[in-house]
């Protein structure tokens, strides 16, 4: 080979490498929680791989825990220009202040639509609209259910899960006991540092804290009935004394270690609760829908429990809006949503629940499908939500501890929350 040929071949090889590098030179920055990244799958099975190859784009994931993620999104979106192209936003964080910093998606959807958008649960899509414009595309949901320890039910002579909420409270009292090995079992637990699960209990009577139209629903009979029932449970010693500080992690640990017999929690946590690596009761922690009150037996099949969901948004100051929209279109395609659902992501497409490969692999698919027909968000988007939540929890705690009657406590909550609502 002559020197000239060698140089020529080297130049060609360099050009090929350079063009490959150029093809991969586009980058898309996605800010989310690790759970969103995991939903895409990993390695060869990553559902964004075909899109990355086709568009020559590298997807960079920037992940944080929930409060940090929101704080970062707000900060980046407030700049003159941001490197964040796609962000994940929780429904409760989607208020008018946030929407003002986001790109309206209607035009993008009109020009280059997401596959079969009508298949995405309409309630979730509707909640992401502001002043008639769509700002976010739902991607993941987490509805609540009732988890119970089958072994404990047998130990206490209870045949099966409760069919009404009244039965659930009765069972909770029976299931508060000390086992032969010394384990103290709490009958019923749920998070006490956020109103979401308290609203879940109120939903057994179709109750709310705030309605989607920002009506003060906490003073109405359903919420009062729920708090009165929970106070009864507390007085009977069947609702943990530290109910105010119970966090989501505590609920998981208590169920996995057998410190609680029933828990109101996200349905898909069933996977974690029954994981032999983490749980002392693998296969014995079942999940069912939250039962409805006997009073509403004809109206609902199951309680309209709370559902929270994550959506994808594009910051108004992103430089790659077209690319970001293309990414959203790809991960929202029917096939992608099915793949992400098989990776443990709550599917926002109703058609996924009809797919045999999904229902055969996800034992709680039917439970989720039932509740999604009636579920709604626990608290509507509210700019002053943290303050309103603190006021509600203060009133709730006062009622449970007997410092005020449930009605008096909620009346006071209503008067303090009213000025925080949108005009």
């Amino acid at each position: 080979m002559t020197r000239l040929k060698t140089v020529g071949l080297a130049a060609l090889a360099f050009a090929a490498l350079a063009s490959q590098a150029w093809a991969q030179s586009k980058e898309l920055n996605v800010i989310g929680h690790a759970v969103h990244q995991r939903a895409m799958g990993s390695g060869e099975a990553n559902l964004t791989n075909p899109w990355q190859s086709a568009t020559g784009t590298k997807v960079n994931w920037i992940t944080f825990d929930i409060p940090a993620l929101y704080e970062r999104l707000m900060r980046e979106a407030s700049l003159g220009e941001t490197t964040i192209d796609v962000a994940f936003l929780l429904n409760s964080q989607a208020n008018e202040n946030v929407f003002n910093l986001l790109e309206p998606l209607d035009e993008l959807q009109k020009a280059n639509p997401i596959e079969d958008m009508d298949d995405v649960f309409p309630g979730m899509v509707e909640a992401m609209k502001h002043d008639g414009k769509l700002y976010a595309i739902p991607f993941r949901h987490t509805p609540s259910g009732l988890h119970y320890n089958e072994e404990y039910f047998k130990e206490r002579g209870i045949a099966g899960p409760p069919k009404t909420v009244e039965e659930m409270f009765e069972y909770a009292k029976k299931l508060t006991y000390t086992r032969a090995d010394g384990t103290k079992v709490a009958g019923l637990i749920f998070t006490g540092n956020h109103p979401a699960n308290i609203v879940d209990i109120a939903r057994a009577w179709d109750g709310d804290f705030l309605t989607l139209k920002y009506e003060l629903a906490m003073t109405r009979p359903p919420m009062i009935k729920a708090i009165t029932a929970l106070k009864g449970l507390f007085d009977a010693g069947a609702y943990p004394k530290n109910f105010m500080t119970l966090k989501s992690d505590d609920i998981d640990t208590w169920m996995q270690t057998g410190r609680a017999a029933m828990a109101v929690s996200t349905i898909s946590k069933s996977k974690n609760y029954n994981d032999p690596k983490n749980s002392q009761f693998p296969g014995k922690l079942k999940v069912v829908n939250l039962p409805i009150s006997a009073e509403l037996a004809g109206k609902y099949q199951v309680a309209p429990a709370k559902v929270e969901f994550w959506s994808m948004v594009i910051p108004k100051n992103s430089k790659n809006k077209a690319l970001a929209w293309d990414f959203i279109r790809h991960v929202m395609a029917k096939d992608s949503i099915l793949k992400s659902a098989l990776n443990g992501n709550g599917s926002v497409r109703s058609s996924v629940y009809e797919r045999q490969e999904y229902s055969s692999q996800v034992p709680w698919a039917e439970v989720e499908q039932k509740v999604l027909k009636v579920a709604r968000v626990p608290v509507p988007p509210l700019a002053k939500a943290p303050e309103a939540i603190d006021i509600f929890l203060e009133g709730y705690q006062a009622a449970i501890l007997g410092m005020k009657s449930p009605q008096a406590a909620m009346d006071e909550v209503a008067s303090r929350v009213k000025p925080l609502l949108p005009k």
Partner: protein
């Protein structure tokens, strides 16, 4: 003073309580990292168990970003420590050997700025750092951490250098040494304990720091504490075994560093407390 057996026993008990108070949480973290996840919170707690490295294997399999974050932590920590030592040594020498109204004022200013909570400067700094394209770089964290500890470091170094007789400087000058030579060949070797004391402060602070790392990094310079926070904020449920394994790995560099320099630490922190 003569020590009675009771006196000695009380001292031993007090010492044991202090050790227990400090070391027991670390013991719990390390042992929990070696237990199968399902046994970590079992009741009654198990202190005798067959150790497993499963949590460590899972940590590196499920959180590959943790390794990158540790490397970032190391780069930032070492960088900030060296930079702070360099500037604090020079500043300490200046404050110790020179006298002027400006220097007194600047020394006082350094103490005052240290009293402000860091969050005050953090948020206004974000758009500036972003404009300078320094976001998500090791350099920005190194500079910020250095700035945080430069005032304390300078004062520590000043205190040390105050104890080095000026006659040594004067003797070196008579021998024809330049200012740089005096600093490197005379002052620095006699200030080793002070340098180590400053280094320990900055190293531990930089390694554990969360707020600035959270504000100013995204992917390229993300540090270990951010990944630990993510593990704690898991939506699907915290995997405690993996979290304790990560906490143990995060502890190792600090423990190694402190063990290596411990003989300097006590001497370094107490030196300068008594004049003469």
């Amino acid at each position: 003073m003569r020590r009675t057996p009771l006196h000695s026993a009380l001292r031993l008990v007090a010492l044991a309580l202090v050790v227990l108070w400090s070391a027991f949480p670390i013991f719990l973290i390390v042992t929990a990292s070696l237990k199968p996840s399902r046994e970590i919170f079992s009741f009654p707690p198990s202190f005798v168990f067959v150790p497993t490295f499963e949590n460590y294997v899972e940590l590196f399999r499920r959180w590959p970003a943790f390794v990158d974050a540790l490397v970032n932590s190391l780069i930032v920590t070492v960088g900030a420590t060296l930079l702070t030592i360099a500037f604090a040594t020079l500043a300490g020498y200046g404050f110790s050997r020179l006298r002027s109204r400006f220097l007194t004022g600047s020394a006082f200013y350094m103490i005052v700025v240290r009293m402000f909570p860091p969050i005050i400067v953090t948020l206004p700094l974000f758009p500036i750092v972003n404009f300078l394209r320094l976001n998500d770089t090791h350099a920005i964290l190194i500079v910020i951490y250095c700035t945080c500890y430069l005032s304390l470091g300078s004062w520590i170094m000043k205190t040390f250098m105050d104890q080095i007789p000026r006659e040594l400087d004067e003797a070196a000058v008579i021998d024809g040494a330049t200012l740089g030579q005096i600093l490197v060949k005379v002052i620095l070797p006699l200030s080793t304990q002070g340098i180590v004391a400053v280094g320990v402060f900055v190293f531990i602070f930089s390694w554990n720091e969360y707020l600035f790392a959270f504000i100013f990094t995204a992917t390229e310079a993300k540090t270990g504490p951010l990944i630990l926070a993510e593990m704690l904020g898991s939506i699907e449920g915290v995997d405690w075994g993996i979290l304790f394994a990560a906490a143990t790995v995060e502890l190792v560099p600090i423990l190694v560093f402190v063990l290596l320099v411990q003989r300097f630490i006590v001497a370094g922190l107490t030196a300068g407390s008594v004049k003469g």
